[in-house]
Symmetry: C2
Subunit: 162 residues, 2 copies
């Protein structure tokens, strides 16, 4: 890998693998958490993640490539961390820890899509640039939703519904 274009394609394959891995992990997380709002947020994010996979397939197509994934060690580690929490935590600690781990995953995705979008612009891949921008905006919105849930969940004296 020597050029910006090669780095771009490599990172695209990485995030495609990462989104697929996330879509497989989310149902288990949703099942484990006790808070109803949190469960709904993870179910919504699963739908969004499946949408991101379809959008990434359009990005590959816009470059004249077939969608393909390459193992993303970072997402693998982030999901391993989340999986460990499902085993080690329960009750309130589980809910707040899982929100924290989900925010770490969102932040990772925001960093990667921010980089990919700017690389696409520099490379003149206009369609890819626009598509990656829409995913980036959704990841930022998902992180904002998690922050609101974190504030609510961290304080058990608040208005938690469950």
């Amino acid at each position: 890998m020597k050029t910006l274009n090669e780095a771009f394609e490599h990172t695209l394959q990485d995030i495609y693998w990462a989104e697929n891995a996330l879509s497989k992990a989310l149902p288990k997380v949703s099942k484990a958490v006790g808070n109803a709002d949190l469960k709904a947020a993870f179910d919504d994010h699963l739908k969004e993640t499946k949408g991101h996979i379809k959008t990434l397939e359009k990005v590959f197509k816009s470059l004249g490539k077939s969608a393909s994934g390459e193992k993303c060690d970072a997402m693998d580690g982030l999901l391993k961390e989340a999986d460990g929490l499902l085993e080690e935590a329960e009750g309130h600690a589980l809910d707040v820890s899982v929100i924290g781990a989900a925010q770490a995953i969102e932040h990772y995705e925001i960093a990667r899509y921010g980089t990919l979008r700017e690389w696409a612009k520099e490379l003149g891949h206009d369609e890819a640039h626009a598509l990656l921008g829409t995913i980036l905006d959704e990841e930022k919105a998902a992180n904002a939703k998690l922050t609101a849930l974190a504030v609510e969940a961290v304080n058990p004296k608040g208005k938690r519904k469950s």
Copy 2:
């Protein structure tokens, strides 16, 4: 792990391990990159990271605990990803990819310190709250520096010094 306090201590041990792992990895990254500004940024960040380790030790002390780490799977994965780039990429692709990986690491740390700082506040750990806030601000500043370097490095027609 059942309570917010247990989740807080667990995540503190995680990030202490993560900062120590990062401080061991940064010299290799600095040595590998070609861009002089980028090398200087990684050297500066190593100093900052060592400072964060000392600050985290003060956080542990403020809680009446000895500093101890627990393997952080997420940082392990993020560093494995960066290490893979050092092996697979060269030249321009190496510089831009390494900046991207470093931003992913910064975003991870920003997410974790943001969570830890808010948990400290909720738990009434005022000194820990203040100390974690100073690290969070430095991580945000480090990410902003990396963004500026990314913009400069991605465009080889720009004013790169090397």
